[in-house]
Amino acid sequence: MSNTEAGDDAAIFSDAVQRILTDTVTALAIENAAQRKFPTALFDALAQSGVTSMLVPEHQGGTGAGISAAVAVMRAIGAAAAPGPIVETIIANVFLAKARLPAFERPIALAFAAETESLRGSANSSPLTLRDVLWGGLVDHVLIVFRDGNARIALTHRDDWIVTPGGDAADEPRDVLVSRNVPLACAEIPDGTYDELFCFAALLRSGQILGAIEWVFRRTVEFAMERKQFGREIGKFQAVQQMLAELADHALASAAITEAAALETSDVLIAAARSRLADAADAAIRIGHQVHGAIGFSREYALNFRTRRLMAWRDDYGSVPYWNQRLGERFIGLPREAVWPAITDTKAEPIVG
């Protein structure tokens, strides 16, 4: 896809998504999500605008947008600290399309079995346990993706599971699900789909992380210009300026690598984005709170809606060490002359399963 097409796709969604976020993502809606109340108004509006099926091809009933448009949408959603299984439903709908099944308007929780530390299991293990499933106990459907043996998906119903509620740093539900019935009915998906969509899920989460970092950066700079101590704005103090400049460094560098990964979608750049964003997220949490002082630590002030999500998101769809190692892996064993070409020619290696 060319840059222009990606830009057009993003533009189509951008106004609509911004309107939806302004209307539905209130402080109350975010706090309600922390009380296990599903953000229905937000989710339904996103589904109706085509966001949740934006990566499904048009001939299968979706919008057929490009991945970089989806990353741009998630950047706005992340900046707003919007709760709910949005990345999950977008990616689940792509899996359904790969298995020639229709897209869902309703929310879907998503579990990659056997990929990360928290999700282990095969379709036949008895009983199957899924950990940390975002909104897993509060939606009607959970889509599980397996890659032991043939890659396949199982679309399950909430009645199939015994739910133990849990939560993440943002208090969004992350539940443990134990299956009542195995084996599960599975549909096969093409080889390579598992890793491709795992990487895309990681990339969409990158957009969300970036959006939250950029919000923290902007808000913290504004705050430093408003807040006065010792008779002047704290942003006038060099110590504070140095911190904010460091935060600007992190925000711009992570935007650069995330946009590059969204345009090129090679696994090297996606891994680099996730790895780089982790350091930027840590800096945003540290500096955002340090500059805000005590007020930023109150539950009422909107900073924590983003910083707590950054704490939760940085290890989603592959922990930070996972992506660090996956990126490092690509360079191990290279002779000295081959290292630089591996940096510049990231396109040469598409994502493989």
């Binding site: 400049a245 460091e246 650069a256 780089r276 992506w323 940096i343």
Partner: protein, 386 residues
């Protein structure tokens, strides 16, 4: 980027840039095969007149300049690609580096027709080299406090003063000096003027300053009643500060600000082979993620320069992040050498020598060309904080 004050352009390299990359790689391969480019055991930019001449023969010096001055009229993104390829391969480009990056563009932007046709063709042929005369013994970060000065005489100017940390002054032809030509008016940035001075001119004395690693790159340059003609002045009298500021985006955003220690990563991987503990892979991956992000940022700045913007804040961000990254590389590689017990491997001697040299150079990365604290001040100003 959503913040109004910071800009990012998604760099898409034109096909011509990728073609140029292949040409530069072929050149590098030829240099290696002919034994002229050995695997590095030092960091820093080597100085080789022969190499500079061979690069010039390819047309790669003054790549973006007008053809009438010996240039190729190629884009800033193509120049970016050429420089990153040469630097990543540790090709010694030091002789022409400053003239190509900075002095030539300043002359193109502010110089007279006479200056342009006098200096630029020689630079692009790889025969004419420049250095930068900005810092003084009492004026480092506070450049505007400089005291070297020039007084007007019939037909020219008489320069007096002292410049320091002048890299390569002992082996280039000209220094571009920033000096005071009148008492500071209301703004202390006024009254400064740039002159081109022949380093062999009567009254100029260049003395070596050994750097901490024991290398002779720096010099002190003394100017005693040095006469320069009126034609040596660059741009307008008193406009030196603005002209120097215009150089900064070139000076601060290029790949030399994050590739100084890249050869250490290459040597480490070379010696490491297939064996590496998971923590080692993770540390390397984290480091490489910073490198990949810096490269995108650096390309973005090149793209903005190509579009005619002056991305000084973004350039400051590249240098602030890039130079700290260069230091991180040294720390991480040193730790991995210890953890993986690489001191006995084949090729370990060269890696050790390179690591030692990089470690000795590393404090300079965040000082030279503007300290990171000054850079962060520029970034803060860009954010509207001062």
């Amino acid at each position: 980027m959503e913040n109004r004050s910071l800009h990012l352009v998604s760099p898409r390299l034109p096909a011509a840039a990728e073609e140029l990359r292949r040409e530069v790689r072929a050149f590098v391969a030829d240099e290696r095969e002919s034994g002229r480019l050995a695997p590095p055991d030092k960091v820093g930019m080597g100085f080789s007149i022969d190499t500079t001449r061979r690069i010039a023969a390819r047309g790669w010096i003054g790549l973006t300049w007008p053809a009438r001055y010996g240039g190729q009229e190629r884009s800033a993104l193509e120049r970016y690609v050429m420089t990153e390829e040469l630097l990543a391969a540790s090709v010694p480009v030091g002789a022409h580096w400053v003239a190509d990056r900075q002095s030539g563009p300043v002359l193109l932007k502010f110089g007279t027709e006479e200056q342009k046709s006098h200096y630029l063709p020689g630079i692009s042929r790889g025969e004419c080299y420049f250095c930068i005369g900005m810092s003084e013994p009492d004026s480092g970060s506070d450049l505007a406090s400089l005291r070297s000065h020039a007084r007007k005489v019939d037909g020219g100017w008489i320069l007096n003063g002292r410049k320091i940390w002048t890299t390569n002054a002992h082996r280039v032809h000209y220094v571009i000096c920033l000096v005071r030509t009148s008492k500071p008016p209301a703004s202390r940035h006024g009254g400064l003027t740039q002159f081109i001075v022949d380093v062999k001119a009567p009254g100029v004395r260049v003395s070596p300053i050994l750097s901490m690693p024991g290398d002779h790159d720096f010099n002190e340059v003394l100017f005693e009643e040095v006469f320069v003609e009126d034609s040596a002045m660059i741009g307008k009298e008193g406009n030196g500060w603005n002209q120097v500021s215009a150089e900064l985006a070139y000076e601060r955003s290029g790949p030399e600000r994050w590739l100084s220690t890249f050869r250490l990563i290459g040597e480490l991987l070379h010696v490491l082979g297939q064996q590496a503990q998971p923590a080692t892979r993770g540390e390397l991956g984290r480091l490489l993620s910073h490198l990949l992000a810096l490269r995108q940022l650096s390309m973005s700045v090149a793209g903005m320069i190509q579009q005619g913007m002056t991305p000084n804040v973004e350039a400051a961000i590249v240098k602030d992040l890039g130079t700290r990254f260069e230091q991180d590389v040294v720390r991480v590689v040193r730790d991995i050498v210890a953890v993986e017990d690489l001191t006995r491997n084949e090729g370990a001697a060269r890696l050790q020598a390179l690591l030692r040299h990089a470690q000795l150079w590393s404090p300079a990365f965040t000082i030279r060309g503007g300290t990171n604290e000054i850079l962060r001040g520029i970034i803060a100003k860009g954010l509207g904080l001062r």
